[in-house]
């Protein structure tokens, strides 16, 4: 999903910066607020960022015969909300743009919009929705992470089709979806599975922080089950 340096006309670079920056600013305020209110959540904030660091560095092969990488943003989105993840993603994207020539500074706004905003926002919505209709935390986090990952790549395809509607937006979209979104399907599923593993582990060890962050309810029956298993 990294749009390479210089591969968006400058008007689009500016546009995506203007869209992404307010969200990132709001995310910074939210990080300040959550770490002041719940200082014990800081290690989980670090884990959320670290998870993005690892997953976005792993380029995996896909059944389409090309390689791509997961995003790792679903975990942070569920724990802290999408705005916070826009900040964490921006950090990773700057690291990759400056040191790896992967992505770019001019395309940072566009890349943060897909990886740090659309993906995490979708993940967060799916988590909320799945929990509301009573699905288990594991199923909910799986779906959230899979769709967060996949929609990030769909967003990249949309962004490129808007910037390069050759010969038309529709035709370009078919082309870019073929490059990005099909390859991503198995990787999104892999990301979903990895996110389930780490989320279940966190839930087993520190359910108290998840309750404070309002990720799960205090009276959640799943929590009772964990408590009785630990005791």
């Amino acid at each position: 999903m990294h749009i390479a340096e210089g591969f968006l006309p400058w008007q689009w670079c500016l546009f995506w910066y203007l869209v992404a920056l307010p969200v990132i600013a709001y995310g910074v305020i939210k990080i300040k607020k959550v770490t002041e209110e719940h200082p014990e959540s800081k290690p989980l904030l670090a884990v959320s960022g670290a998870f993005i660091f690892i997953l976005s560095s792993l380029k995996m092969p896909s059944v389409t015969g090309s390689c791509s990488h997961p995003t790792g943003t679903g975990l942070g989105a569920v724990l802290f909300g999408p705005a916070v993840v826009s900040v964490l993603s921006a950090i990773v994207l700057v690291f990759q743009a400056l040191l790896l020539a992967h992505g770019g500074i001019t395309t940072l706004g566009a890349n943060d919009f897909s990886m740090g905003i659309v993906g995490p926002f979708a993940a967060w919505l799916i988590w909320k929705g799945a929990r509301k209709i009573g699905w288990s935390t594991s199923i909910a986090i799986f779906l959230a992470a899979v769709m967060g990952d996949w929609l990030t790549y769909v967003t990249t395809a949309v962004q490129l089709s808007l910037a390069f509607p050759i010969p038309s937006f529709g035709a370009a979209f078919v082309k870019f979806i073929a490059i990005y979104a099909y390859t991503q399907v198995p990787l999104a599923i892999a990301e979903g599975l990895l996110t389930v593993v780490i989320f279940e582990y966190i839930m087993k060890l520190r359910p108290d922080i998840l309750v404070k962050l309002k990720v799960i309810e205090k009276e959640d029956p799943e929590l009772k089950k964990i408590e009785s298993a630990v005791a």
Binding site: I3, A4, E5, G6, F7, P9, W10, P43, L44, A46, V47, G49, A50, F51, I52, F53, I54, S56, S57, L58, K59, M60, P61, S62, V63, T64, G65, S66, C67, Q96, A97, L98, L99, L100, A101, H102, G104, I105, T106, L160, F164, K175, F176, I179, Y180, T183, Q184, P186, A190, L193, L194, V196, I198, E200, Y201, I202, L205, R206, V230, A231
Partner: protein, 110 residues
Amino acid sequence: MVNKRAIVLLALVAVIVIFPLALYNGKGEDQGYFGGSDDQGPEYIASTGYTPWFHSLWEPPSPEIESLLFAVQAAIGAIIIGFVLGYYQGQTKERKRRKYEGNSNENIDV
């Protein structure tokens, strides 16, 4: 403590990664396989006649340096996750131990 469920899930991830390697076994970059989708996008855009107007300030001078930096990126993430989850694991164990010894009113804070 072995978490069977986690092992099964991680094994599934391994299958997802290994399957394409087996499927296209023997084929490589020269035959057009296992290239990055992040590279195919720009390749296609360049084929429409577009020339990028800005270039990376710095690029890893060789694939070795690039893989070094990617490994560093993953290592930073792995160290943080391992440290925090290991710390939590130790805390939980200690809490259990104290409970077992009857000092349950002692609270361990982070």
